[in-house]
């Protein structure tokens, strides 16, 4: 771990030259590269807010958050959020105590957002995402806009009803698997384990409550800058690092168990190295190819829905 401290210190010195608390951090090739190498925790809140476009939305939407907080709430939505409040990181000290302000903030952001974006509403998984955002970003209002940017801009339609974007994404991942790791893809097909089984939670929660927190934050550093492709890279990297183990699982039960262990392997803890391998191990993933696969999968899904 001390090695990682050295890395962090080195990165912090570099970041100090790019981030000015008085001004918005602008996007550039350099900042993109820096994000891949990790944003120092002291600057993470500001950098996320700047590079994701959340600041812009916040600026244009002055007063929106407060209005949403004060608006009359749909009882059912409130109920479903309340059910999850004490089931979100129950072992984290910031979310254990009933009087804890973070729990209240969690409720505020989730309910405000559900009413701001009623087509999405409250989707389980938001509870983990917002909770982690609140641990990094102090202001509720900033968290609110970061969530909005994720849901409507950085991620392709994961959470709207029917979660079509998520299905498409899993279809894309499946195709990428056939391309990058055909043996594993064939093995999963033979045994009958669909890629959706292990990865639904990965995508819905953006790896929170799936991978170690520091690793998740590093993934989000890229997510807020570059968008959802990093989620595919992480998935491919996880599968690739564990490919041999998964290939050795000879039946449905053991393969499902094997997938459970994929996110617990020691490689995921060493986040700096893990992030590096996310960009090297799966190899090139041209955006054009992903876009093409996405529209192909989208068409298939639309056709399937309309004929059923």
């Amino acid at each position: 771990m001390s090695e990682y401290l050295v890395v962090l210190t080195r990165r912090a010195v570099k970041w100090d030259k790019v981030v000015d608390p008085q001004h918005r951090t602008r996007k550039s090739i350099k900042v993109k590269r820096y994000c891949r190498k990790g944003i120092p925790s002291s600057q993470r809140a500001q950098v996320w807010f700047d590079i994701s476009g959340a600041r812009k939305r916040w600026k244009h939407g002055q007063g929106v958050y407060k209005r949403m907080l004060d608006s009359t709430k749909d009882a059912q939505v409130v109920e479903s959020i309340k059910i999850d409040l004490h089931r979100t990181f129950p072992e984290n000290i910031h979310f254990t105590d009933d009087l804890s302000s973070k729990k209240e903030s969690l409720f505020n952001v989730l309910s405000a957002y559900a009413h701001y974006n009623p087509t999405v509403g409250y989707c389980q998984g938001f509870n983990y995402i917002v909770a982690l955002l609140l641990l990094v970003v102090k202001q509720e209002e900033h968290v609110f806009w970061l969530l909005d940017v994720l849901v409507t801009k950085r991620l392709p339609d994961y959470y709207s009803s029917g979660m079509q974007g998520l299905r498409v994404e899993q279809g894309v991942l499946d195709e990428l698997l056939w391309w990058k790791m055909p043996a594993l893809a064939q093995h999963m097909k033979t045994i009958g384990v669909d890629i959706a089984i292990p990865t639904t939670k990965w995508f819905i929660c953006l790896y929170t409550d799936v991978l170690p927190t520091e690793t998740v934050l590093r993934i989000w550093d890229c997510l807020f800058y570059e968008g959802s492709k990093i989620l595919l890279r992480v998935a491919l990297n996880l599968l690739s690092l564990n490919e041999q183990k998964l290939l050795a699982c000879n039946d449905f039960v053991s393969l499902c168990d094997g997938f459970k262990n994929v996110t617990k392997s020691s490689e995921t803890v060493d986040c700096h190295n893990f992030m590096e391998t996310c960009f090297t191990v799966p190899g090139s993933l041209p955006q054009r190819k992903i876009d093409k696969l996405r529209s192909k999968k989208q068409e298939m899904l639309t056709a399937a829905v309309s004929t059923s």
Binding site: I83, D84, P90, G125, N250, A304
Partner: protein
Amino acid sequence: MYFSWAVDLDPKGANNQIKEAVDKRYLPEDDDISIDDVDLTGEVGVERRASLEAAFLEEIFHIRTSDQYLGKICQFKLVLLGESAVGKSSLVLRFVKGQFHEFQESTIGAAFLTQTVCLDDTTVKFEIWDTAGQENILLFIFIKSFVRYHSLAPMYYRGAQAAIVVYDITNTDTFSRAKTWVKELQRQASPNIVIALAGNKADLANKRVVEYEDAQSYADDNGLLFMETSAKTAMNVNEIFLAIAKKLPKTDPNAGGQGAGQQRPKGNVDLQERNQGGSGGCCK
């Protein structure tokens, strides 16, 4: 009724007992060789332990694991359904690990666990799918059009031979939702599916709003197994799984689960597992 070592319906514990007994009995106790010297790891170790265990069973219980005398091994897929926060994951956690967490994290997607129960001459192995309670994620998992697109649904209740539909006795809405699930299962799932209705959180009797009799008569009308359960106190948790295990057809060769019939590489947990040969059916 059960093998004496499985009376507590804790096959893992039972296996540990056997392992301990095997260790004591068959591993040399003199000073020449210590237990540590006998390698029970790796492939050879697994084989070795297997033969030790078989010898032990044969001698103590007059059970022969090597032939049909031990009886059938059945593998069944079971799915848990019900409204958010009624205690689906808690029931599974209690059944599989004997644990209870006051604040169980919400399940996203579906979680997969296995557990074995022994009854008479049959070992029933459950593949348990614990699902998310929230509607949109469930829709995502179950929606019919998805079958064609992604063939995901068959992996959940389409192939399930058993289902536990859970409600919370302190919340009427969850009971209505449970009824909807029962209807859905009766319409969609395989016709022979065994459905159990579990009225969970029975420890909160002072907050009860769903009467036992109402649920019982609903269950009777629909041919469901019914028990009130408490994952917290463990009341009726093993019992409901056992009741399902008893009711499941154990002779139908077509009733096998997806994972049945293949040997697991681990091979060192369940005694009977290695007997599972290459048949596609659930039972042997």
